[in-house]
């Protein structure tokens, strides 16, 4: 699958390892959460980085004790309308302070790109045939965000300090900010 990072196709150094497959002595591998937990000793002692694939029903808390040993977490969208991984990403970045690569896999479409970036994804496995121009146009089409405290380059109102103060009549100004009496 083509991989997009920072608006460009990039080479993918990672191999997804099926649960039955032998663990290679080197190279970057992505394993399931179950395998990671059961074979963590082997995995952390080998040469090469380790990534973990989480199902979208998994609680990110399960991987919390290991986050410092993990270089990549992949989260999946079985259908692009299934938005659970947005919240998993948010929990990983925001609650658990995960700073490694966060990869979106599955049904990942250009029109989701902006949202995915905002919740903290930084690499995107896209269907073959995805045009990079369409991806970049779609992901950059909105540059502003009302939600504070999310990631990405969309600017919140506080960061776009070009807004003039509202034009008020003296009447209005006098009561601005006050609770309206019952």
């Amino acid at each position: 699958m083509p991989l997009i990072k920072d608006g460009q196709f990039v080479a993918d150094s990672w191999t997804v390892l099926e649960d039955e497959a032998e663990i290679p002595p080197n190279g970057d591998v992505i394993v399931s959460l179950e395998r990671y937990i059961s074979e963590v000793d082997v995995l952390v002692r080998r040469v090469g980085r380790v990534g973990v694939a989480l199902e979208n029903t998994a609680d990110p808390e399960e991987i919390a004790p290991h986050l410092s040993d993990i270089d990549l977490i992949s989260l999946t969208f079985p259908a692009f309308t299934d938005g659970r991984a947005y919240s998993q990403a948010r929990q990983l970045r925001h609650h658990l302070g995960y700073g490694g690569e966060l990869r979106a896999t599955g049904s990942v479409l250009a029109d989701q790109a902006g949202f995915l970036t905002q919740v903290g994804f930084d690499t995107f496995e896209v269907p073959s045939g995805q045009s990079i121009d369409v991806w970049n146009t779609a992901s950059g089409s909105v540059t502003l965000a009302y939600q504070r405290g999310y990631e990405g380059s969309r600017k919140t109102r506080d960061k776009l300090q070009t807004s003039p103060a509202p034009q008020l009549t003296p009447d209005c100004a006098a009561v601005a900010g006050q609770t309206v009496p019952a």
Partner: protein, 551 residues
């Protein structure tokens, strides 16, 4: 009223351009209909039985004259000269063509409006008490919080692909006119012993095939915490709401299956982990929004108007209209005027472009440039001087907008039903028209008094039948429409879910059944007892006996 600043304007324009690009990709074939569908739905565009339907957001039902005129322009230019006001305080246009939709959105952006998230599995238009900021029974104006939530929910990066649609309503008054108990999240501003206002947070109400009333998950939430707390609720729902069955995907099912206590625990756990100060707007932001909702420039007036009293004495029709359609304003000398979009035999919620312009003119001249849309599909002029009421009534009369039936039997809520909707199983508009004609005599209506009849054309309950004093649900069996009747529902502060009285009725007999129910009430009521009071006292049996004995 809220006004866009540069940020809001740029945001909405970008959204229009984004949608134009999506439409172009659909037209060119780059997007399949399956891929396009959720994208168009997130912008209020449905594919209905006969054509596309565009639902335009009227945030918490508030608009000004300029905006109403633009809706009239769109109705003339892109529809068949009318629009349909909905139970979510929005307006629908039934005949737009797909390539025209980006242009319509452009026209809306010109007047600070949009169609963002009026459908799709995302947070929908936030609704509020239609009399907010004007009504005498208010603790605090809910509109600044509704606007805060409108902004926060718009293109939310985390909550745009929820298990199912999500509806939030807020009220700041003692009487609940926003039906908060029937919402995914219902918010009630209330006052504590120290005189502070805060929110009661209810979660898990809803209609559809499994009607439920919301459970209180927080009895008291500081107002500043609102968005952070909503984020916690939404995250629990986004992660754990059911996605295996569309009919079990609303948050009410999650709350029901977990139990309110366990659901609350999960929300509070999540909330404890949220870095609230990072999410909450700085205090100056709420102040900025509140500034726009400061009271308008009222004149200092005596509360009583001799002019009004004289006109009411002279003209019974006018006096009856004042009695039903005009309610108390918190400012001395002013009144709230409700405009009925329910002429006898008409289509509930429909307004012609000419009527929209007439209302816009009146708003500008007589209501400090404000209009409201109610979830009961009527309009409101919220700030009319009592001395102007007669003139306003005459203008409304000239445009067939002076029906004095607010809250009466013919003030019926009905969904579009099988005449328009792709989901409907039965017609609702013709049934509503039939009942309205049958019960339409104004003397009889006034004698019957407060009565809410609500009609849905399918189990999804867009016509709010569960909350109707008399609810009617249109279904289909072996190619025949039939209508189930429920009694005793209510969407107010004493909310209840209507109970089915028995086997359904055909389209020919359902009006007879409704009339029998009304007559039964008239026969058994005690002094001053409304239909709902009487039903709650005597229960369904007398009504069942009367209906099934005669039909």
């Amino acid at each position: 009223m809220y006004r866009y600043d540069e940020f809001d304007t740029t945001f909405v324009r970008q959204r229009v351009d984004q949608f134009r690009d999506q439409v172009n990709r659909r037209v060119s074939g780059d997007l399949t209909e399956e891929q396009f569908r959720p994208l168009r739905l997130m912008n209020g565009l449905y594919l209905q039985l006969h054509a596309y339907m565009l639902r335009v957001a009227i945030p918490y039902g508030t608009l000004n004259a300029r905006q109403m005129r633009q809706l009239a322009f769109i109705a003339d230019e892109y529809d068949k000269g009318y629009g349909h006001f909905t139970t979510r305080q929005n307006i629908q246009f039934n005949w737009p063509k797909l390539p025209d939709v980006p242009d319509i959105l452009e026209h809306l952006a010109d007047v600070e409006m949009h169609a963002i998230q009026t459908s799709g599995n995302c947070i929908r238009n936030v609704t509020a008490d239609q009399w907010a900021g004007a009504t005498a029974d208010e603790f605090e104006d809910p509109r600044p919080y509704a606007e805060l939530m409108r902004q926060w929910s718009s293109l939310h990066p985390e909550f745009s692909f929820l298990p199912r649609k999500f509806k939030i309503a807020v009220t700041g008054a003692a009487a609940d006119r926003a039906a908060i108990a029937y919402h995914d999240i219902g918010l009630r501003l209330k006052r504590n012993a120290a005189g502070e206002t805060g929110f009661e947070v209810m979660v898990g109400g809803g209609m559809g095939r499994t009607p439920m009333l919301g459970a209180t998950v927080r009895d008291w939430l500081q107002k500043e915490e609102l968005l952070a707390y909503l984020e916690a609720i939404m995250r629990v729902y986004n992660l754990h709401g059911r996605r295996d069955n569309k009919y079990k995907a609303r948050i009410k099912i999650l709350v029901h299956e977990l139990g309110a206590e366990e659901f609350t625990r999960q929300v509070e756990d999540e909330y404890a982990r949220i870095d609230a100060p990072r999410i909450m707007p700085p205090p100056q932001e709420l102040t900025r929004i509140k500034t726009y909702f400061a009271p308008p420039a009222y004149e200092e007036l005596a509360d009583q108007s001799p002019e009004l009293a004289r006109r009411m004495n002279e003209n019974t029709d006018f006096a009856q209209w004042v009695d039903r359609n005009v309610v108390a304003h918190k400012q001395a000398g002013y009144a709230i005027v409700n405009i009925s979009l329910k002429p006898v035999g008409g289509v509930p919620g429909d307004a012609s472009a000419a009527q929209m312009r007439a209302v816009a003119d009146l708003a500008e001249d007589k209501s400090l440039d404000e209009i409201r849309v109610t979830h009961e599909q009527n309009l409101v002029l919220p700030h009319v001087r009592k001395a102007d009421l007669y003139e306003v009534w005459q203008s409304l009369k000239a445009h067939d907008l002076a029906d004095a039936n607010i809250g009466l039997a013919t003030d019926i809520i009905a969904c579009p039903g099988l005449d328009y909707c792709a989901l409907a199983t039965a017609r609702s508009i013709p049934i509503s028209q039939d009942i309205s004609r049958r019960l339409g005599d104004i003397t009889r209506q006034r004698d019957v008094g407060d009565l809410k009849i609500k009609i849905s054309g399918c189990i999804n309950a867009c016509g709010h039948h569960h909350a109707g004093h008399i609810g009617i649900l249109g279904l289909e069996k072996r190619g025949e429409e039939y209508y189930q009747i429920t009694l005793g529902g209510s969407g107010d502060e004493n909310a209840s879910i209507g109970e089915i009285i028995g086997p359904g009725f055909s389209s020919e007999t359902v009006t007879d059944a409704v009339e029998t129910i009304v007559d039964t009430y008239v026969g058994l009521r005690q002094d001053g007892e409304t239909f709902l009071d009487a039903y709650r006292r005597v229960g369904p049996d007398p009504f069942k006996e009367a209906v099934y004995a005669t039909h």
